[in-house]
C-alpha cells in the first residue's frame, strides 16, 4: 500500500514566517532518501537545503522555483511504501481536527430536550423586566434551548412591529453602549469615611458647648494632676537686674540674625545661667524615689513651649555642653518643631529640669506646676523697666522676676535660695564683653 506524504516548509529560525524556494534539487519521478535534500530555500535569516522527512518517490512539486510561501506550507508530495511507520502523513491530523470539533459542537447543539430552557441569564432577566416580556412566550435558540439576550431583543422587536406605532420611547433597543457604563466597583484606594456623630445638647438654650478632650489635653491633665497630687509644691521668687544683658543682646542680635538666621533670645542667656547654676547645685537636677533621691548627671532642660491649645515640654539634651549660640539654635529648632507638630518621641524624653519662658506672654509672676517627676521648675518673667535703688540713688533698670516651684520632699528654702542667687549672679554678670560662642 502506498501513501502520500507532504513535505512542509519548516520553522528554521525563531522570527521566520516565510521562505522562498530557490531551486529544486529533485524533480517529479525522482527517488528521494530520507534526509536527502530536495530543494534549496532562502529566508531572511538563513539559506538552507530542505531535507526530506521520508523515503519515497517525489510525485508532485507544489511550489515552484522563486515562489515565497509561509512556514508550514506543503512544498511537494512524496509517495512512500507503507512499510515503516515514518510514513504517517502529517496532513491527516490537521484535516481531522476541525471535523472533530464541529462534530463536538453539533453534538452540543443538538442535545435537545431543552434542559437550559428555564435558566435565565442576568441580561435576559433585565431585558425581560425592562420590556415587560413574559419569558415563557419567548423561544430560545441558545444552547439547550436557552433564551439568549438576542432572543429577547428579537421578541421585543417583533412584538413592537406587530403592535405598530403604540410603542415609542422604549423602542430604542439599540442601547447606546456608552450611556450607562458604570465604573463604580469598590476599591481600597478610597479612604474609609469617618462617621460623623452629631452631639445633641441635652439642655437646649443654655449656651453651653462641649469640646471633646483631645488625647493631648488628656495627657496634660493627667500629668498636671499627678504632679500636684504627688509632689508637695513650694514656691519662691527672686528679682534680677538684667540691664547689662539687655544691652548685650541689643548689641549682638542683628549680627546674630545675619550670621545664624535665627533670633537671639533672652531665653538662651537664661538657660545658660540656669544650667551653670545647676552644675553648682546638682540636687536641683534630681528625682524623688521614695527611699532615695536620684541625682541625674546629665542636664537635660525641658523647655515649656505653648501653642494655642496645649503646652509641650521638648528637651534640650546635655544643655551644659552648649554655649549660648548653641542653646539659641536648639530653642529655635524645638519651638519650630512644636508649632509644626513635628516633635518626635525622642525630642520629648529625658528631661531633668524645666524652664518656662512665661515672660513671652506678658506674665510678671507665675506659680508653675512641676514637670513630674522632676524636682523643680523655673519661670522667666517679663523684663520691665523699673526705678531701682542702687547705692542710695534711684536708677531706671531692666528688671525681671524668676519664679521657682520646688519639690519640698527633696529641696528646702536654703538650697533653693542659693540656687536662685547663683542664677541671678550668672545673669547679672553678662557684660558687653561676654561671648556667645
Amino acid at each position: 500500500m502506498k501513501t502520500l506524504t507532504e513535505i512542509v516548509v519548516p520553522q528554521l529560525a525563531e522570527s521566520l514566517v516565510n521562505a522562498t524556494i530557490d531551486k529544486w534539487l529533485k524533480q517529479p519521478g525522482d527517488w528521494v532518501d530520507i534526509y536527502e535534500p530536495i530543494c534549496e530555500i532562502l529566508t531572511d535569516k538563513v539559506n538552507a537545503e530542505l531535507p526530506s522527512t521520508v523515503s519515497g518517490k517525489l510525485v508532485k512539486i507544489l511550489v515552484g522555483n522563486g515562489e515565497t510561501v509561509p512556514v508550514g506550507t506543503p512544498v511537494c508530495i512524496i509517495e512512500t511504501e507503507a512499510t515503516g511507520d515514518a510514513a504517517e502523513p502529517a496532513v491527516q491530523p490537521a484535516s481531522t481536527e476541525p471535523a472533530a470539533t464541529t462534530a463536538g459542537l453539533a453534538a452540543i447543539a443538538t442535545d435537545d430536550d431543552a434542559p437550559m430552557r428555564n435558566r435565565f441569564s442576568p441580561a435576559v432577566q433585565q431585558l425581560a423586566a425592562e420590556h415587560g416580556v413574559r419569558l415563557s412566550d419567548v423561544s430560545g435558540t441558545g444552547l439547550g434551548g436557552r433564551i439568549t439576550r438576542k432572543d429577547v431583543l428579537a421578541y421585543v422587536a417583533s412584538s413592537k412591529h406587530s403592535a405598530g406605532a403604540s410603542a415609542s420611547p422604549a423602542a430604542s433597543i439599540s442601547i447606546d453602549p456608552k450611556a450607562q457604563v458604570r465604573s463604580s466597583g469598590m476599591h481600597l484606594s478610597e479612604t474609609p469615611r469617618i462617621p460623623k456623630i452629631e452631639i445633641e445638647s441635652s439642655t437646649p438654650g443654655r449656651g453651653e458647648t462641649f469640646i471633646d478632650v483631645t488625647p493631648m489635653r488628656n495627657a496634660i491633665a493627667r500629668n498636671m494632676r499627678q504632679s500636684v497630687s504627688e509632689i508637695p509644691h513650694a514656691w519662691t521668687m527672686i528679682e534680677v537686674d538684667v540691664t547689662n544683658l539687655v544691652v548685650l543682646r541689643n548689641k549682638l542680635k542683628d549680627e546674630f540674625m545675619k550670621r545664624e538666621g535665627i533670633n537671639l533670645t533672652y531665653l538662651a542667656f537664661l538657660l545658660k545661667a540656669v544650667v551653670n547654676a545647676i552644675k553648682d547645685y546638682p540636687i536641683m537636677n534630681s528625682t524623688w524615689a521614695v527611699d532615695k533621691i536620684i541625682v541625674k548627671r546629665d542636664i537635660n532642660i525641658s523647655l515649656a513651649v505653648g501653642t494655642e491649645d496645649s503646652v509641650l515640654t521638648p528637651v534640650i539634651k546635655n544643655a551644659d555642653h552648649k554655649n549660648v549660640a548653641g542653646l539659641a539654635k536648639e530653642i529655635d529648632e524645638l519651638a519650630r518643631k512644636t508649632r509644626e507638630g513635628k516633635l518626635t518621641l525622642s525630642d520629648m524624653q529625658g528631661g531633668t529640669f524645666t524652664v518656662n519662658n512665661t515672660g513671652s506672654f506678658g506674665s510678671i509672676l507665675s506659680y508653675p506646676i512641676i514637670n513630674y517627676p522632676q524636682a523643680a521648675i523655673l519661670t522667666f518673667e517679663s523684663i520691665v523697666k523699673r526705678p531701682v535703688v542702687i547705692n542710695d540713688m534711684i536708677a531706671v533698670r531692666s528688671m525681671a522676676n524668676l519664679c521657682l516651684s520646688l519639690d519640698h520632699r527633696i529641696l528646702d528654702g536654703v538650697i533653693c535660695g542659693r540656687f536662685l542667687q547663683r542664677v541671678k549672679d550668672n545673669l547679672e554678670s553678662f557684660t558687653l564683653d561676654s561671648k556667645l560662642y
Binding site: 514566517v17 441580561a123 439576550r149
Partner: protein, 327 residues
C-alpha cells in the same frame, strides 16, 4: 500611507524619536553593530553612532539599571531585552526601582524609560525564547504596559511610550514581526497609552484580547461571519492601565464575552478583565465570561506537537467563539 511590517513600524518609531529628541537612545544586547537579533534596531548605529545605539554586556539587570539611572538624569532610554524571557534578572530594577521612583521621591524624580521586550512563542523557540511574562509585571502600580497588535499601534504606542514621563514596558510579539503588516503613516503620530481599540464591530459575541492572538481572532471572526455569527473585537493595546470604559462598553454590546491571550490563564490579564466585568456588568451578562489562554504548564515545549498544543491558533479560537455564540 505605506504598508509595512510590524517590525519595521517599531524600527521607524525609534528612528523618528531619536531624530526628534537627542536624549533618546537605545541600549541592549547586540542592538548596535549587529542591529538587533531580529534586526529591530538595524541602521540606528550607522545613523546615530555607538553612543545612541549602545551595545551592552549580557546582563539585563545592568541594562535596566543603566537605563533607570540615565532616565533619572534626564535621558530617554529605550532599553531592549533581547527576549522577554531574559528579562527576569532585571525585575528587581524594574519593579522595585523604576516603578517606585516617582512615589518614593514624592514626585521629585521620574523615570521615563521604555523597556522593549519581545514576547510570544510559535517560533520553535522552546523554554527560553517563547514566554509571555505580562502577568509578572501586570498589577505593579507605577508601571505602564503596552502590547500592540497592529503595526500602526506599534509605532504610535512606542512613540507615546518614549514621550511618557513614567516607565513603560513595551511587549512586542516576535511572531508578529514579519507576519503582521498594515498601513502605517510615515508622519509623526502617537497612539495614547491606556486606550483600547475596536478592531471589528459585531453584535453576537465580544472578544477581548491583545497582541498576536488577535490575528487568530480576526481570521476566525471572518470565517464565522460566513456562518452568520458576528463578533465584536476589542484590542486592549494597553494592558496597564486597562481601558475599563472600553471593556465595559464592548461587553455591553453583546453580553457574551471571550477573553483571549497567549500568556497562561491563571493570574493573567484576562483574570483582571473578567473581574472588572463581573464587578460592573453582572446584570448585562448573557453567558459566563469565558477565557481562552495558554495552559498552565511551566514552559513552551520545544517539540512541535507540544508547541502546537500549547499555542492558540485560528481553529482553537474559532471553536471557542462559536461555542460562546451558540450558548
Amino acid at each position: 500611507m505605506a504598508v509595512m511590517d510590524y517590525i519595521d513600524a517599531i524600527r521607524l518609531a525609534m528612528k523618528e524619536e531619536m531624530e526628534r529628541d537627542e536624549d533618546v537612545f537605545v541600549l541592549g544586547e547586540d542592538v548596535g553593530v549587529k542591529g538587533g537579533v531580529f534586526t529591530t534596531t538595524k541602521g540606528l548605529h550607522e545613523q546615530f553612532g555607538e553612543l545612541r545605539a549602545m551595545d551592552t554586556p549580557l546582563a539585563e539587570s545592568a541594562i535596566a539599571g543603566v537605563a533607570i539611572g540615565a532616565a533619572m538624569y534626564g535621558m530617554k532610554p529605550i532599553a531592549e531585552m533581547q527576549y522577554s524571557d531574559f528579562m527576569f534578572p532585571a525585575t528587581n530594577q524594574i519593579i522595585s526601582e523604576a516603578a517606585k521612583i516617582r512615589y518614593r521621591s514624592n514626585n521629585d524624580w521620574t523615570c521615563p524609560i521604555v523597556i522593549r521586550a519581545p514576547i510570544g512563542g510559535g517560533v520553535f523557540g522552546g523554554l527560553y525564547h517563547s514566554q509571555c511574562p505580562e502577568s509578572v509585571f501586570f498589577g505593579t502600580p507605577g508601571l505602564k504596559i503596552v502590547a500592540p497588535y497592529r503595526p500602526y499601534d506599534a509605532k504610535g504606542l512606542l512613540k507615546a511610550a518614549v514621550r511618557d514621563e513614567d516607565p513603560v514596558i513595551f511587549f512586542e510579539n516576535k511572531k508578529c514581526y514579519k507576519l503582521v503588516n498594515g498601513e502605517v503613516p510615515e508622519e509623526d503620530y502617537i497612539v495614547p497609552i491606556g486606550v483600547a481599540n475596536v478592531l471589528r464591530e459585531g453584535d453576537d459575541i465580544t472578544v477581548i484580547g491583545y497582541s498576536m492572538p488577535l490575528r487568530f481572532v480576526e481570521q476566525a471572526a471572518e470565517e464565522l461571519q460566513q456562518e452568520g455569527i458576528s463578533a465584536h473585537i476589542l484590542d486592549l493595546r494597553t494592558i496597564q492601565p486597562l481601558d475599563k470604559e472600553a471593556i465595559l462598553e464592548a461587553v455591553r454590546k453583546t453580553g457574551k464575552v471571550l477573553i483571549v491571550h497567549e500568556d497562561n490563564k491563571t493570574g493573567g490579564v484576562g483574570a483582571e478583565v473578567a473581574a472588572i466585568i463581573a464587578e460592573e456588568l453582572l446584570y448585562e451578562l448573557d453567558a459566563p465570561i469565558m477565557r481562552l489562554c495558554g495552559p498552565d504548564v511551566p514552559a513552551m515545549p520545544i517539540n512541535p506537537p507540544g508547541e502546537k498544543f500549547f499555542l492558540l491558533n485560528k481553529d482553537k479560537v474559532k471553536e471557542a467563539m462559536k461555542h460562546l455564540a451558540l450558548y
